[in-house]
Symmetry: C2
Subunit: 323 residues, 2 copies
Amino acid sequence: MLALYCDDNRQVALQELPAPQPAPGEALIRVTLAGICGTDLQILRGYHDFKGVMGHEFVGVVAGPPGSSWLGKRVVGEINVSCGDCDLCRLGMPRHCRTRRVIGIKDRDGAFATYLTLPEANLLAVPLQVEDEAAVFTEPLAAALAAVDAARLPRKSPVLVVGDGRLGLLISWALALSEAQVHLVGHHAEHLSLAEPYGVATFLEKDLPPGDYAAVVETSGAAAGLDLALARVRPTGTVIMKSTYVEPYPLDSANLVVPEVRLIGSRCGPLGPALRLLARGLINHRALIDRRFPLSQGLEALERAQRPGVLKVLLDCGRQPGD
Amino acid sequence: MLALYCDDNRQVALQELPAPQPAPGEALIRVTLAGICGTDLQILRGYHDFKGVMGHEFVGVVAGPPGSSWLGKRVVGEINVSCGDCDLCRLGMPRHCRTRRVIGIKDRDGAFATYLTLPEANLLAVPLQVEDEAAVFTEPLAAALAAVDAARLPRKSPVLVVGDGRLGLLISWALALSEAQVHLVGHHAEHLSLAEPYGVATFLEKDLPPGDYAAVVETSGAAAGLDLALARVRPTGTVIMKSTYVEPYPLDSANLVVPEVRLIGSRCGPLGPALRLLARGLINHRALIDRRFPLSQGLEALERAQRPGVLKVLLDCGRQPGD
């Protein structure tokens, strides 16, 4: 099968690999569509120490093993593969499993390939009304919803979302759908405009009015975004950190201790609620798609996804050259 | 009156100043005993931008104005002077008042002096059974209790306190008194031994057993303390930051985002519960006292308080040379 493979030296190449064999309890999934995420780009920049098939955002169709009750079903999948047995799994935190592997991120092959394997327990069937181009957003939308939950929404005062990229838009939409007042600040007028139909008040950074916020969600991926978040969070307020930065962030401890601010990391969330939200047709996923590339043009796709201001780049993993 | 005064250039000197005049609604307090705190030492190192009489930990006796119902009462006082009218005061956060002044820390003269003024609304009467040497710990104990509250105690698993200084000891004692299992890690065997009667398990850093903690309270005042806290907090766990550091802390964002850790700043707390705890006689305040100096030897006292490993240094503000 064709796969986008990242080697020890963070060199990515299209490779012909044998199709993976599902272990007992696992399904073989033929990937239909996959999404390129900021984490994939960070892997290329050396942020993670990953070797293998890249990719974790996907929708596909179960193609094996023979006899599986999932055969032929259209699915998305929980990307963390957990042991079910360690203290954290037993405490109900399987996404923090002590020995977790994460497809395309940590110790397990991912979805930028013709085929992928995952434990059947990780699969969720995609409802008919959710098209592939929507279903491929299940994982990032789940992460957005987790950030919304972590923000412990104040109802009476607006929440500030910093960053108008894919995740910033998804989070501001999800916040708005949960009845929050949302302010979104970013650098791209054409992205900001995508939030306005949701009732989100949008601002270029230079136009953000003065004042502070009980909750700020930082999605910008840039240290300047966390600077802004910490400058604008109200005393005793919460900053949700969705972004990671390649360089250490120079944290002024007084910015947390004196105003008694809460800085909360948020990584991913449960897929079910995200899939239900997509099924309600309330997420304008098409507006988030920049371009689709066939998997055979995966390197061009990665290159495009790295350009500033580019929204979601998708890989058609089912489409072969000449299809 | 005599006062320890910090000027524009962070030079501290003993000065003869006129006694302060209480504004309407304020009391004049004759200071009996005052404590030197890490914040005072940070002011000398340029951490805050404070000019005025230093000091915020105190116990004293109300000496004016004539006719005050507080006259002659032994008191401690809330150190934040708030407006009562801004949005944060109205939201019940007077310690975060938009225009707050803080005695000895921010825009208001402090307690290292013969006299101090404070709004009567800030005063708390000290119960008879609380001696001056205990009452002077009300403010730091209140800060310790706030950190305990912020840690949202897990009952089933131990809490780690990093740092065996004054605050680390107070916090570990307060945690133990609230039925938590407490591990305290530090560098001074003689300090660690003060926590053992409270049932706290104590460790020199090199002996801390492996494992992680649902909650860690960092009190060390050193970046290495936060390194340890972040290394030892469990995924989805909480790190309470009590310390501030003069230099920016190089935060690896992945240490918050990937394990979804909560980093929560904590500064100060309400005095009432601290005073009640002192009245119950459960805080071994005498063990925390390193030495008492008369105010006239305030510079020597500050010097001593800066030595590594020194616990609480007190100033006898009521005792005059030759008393």
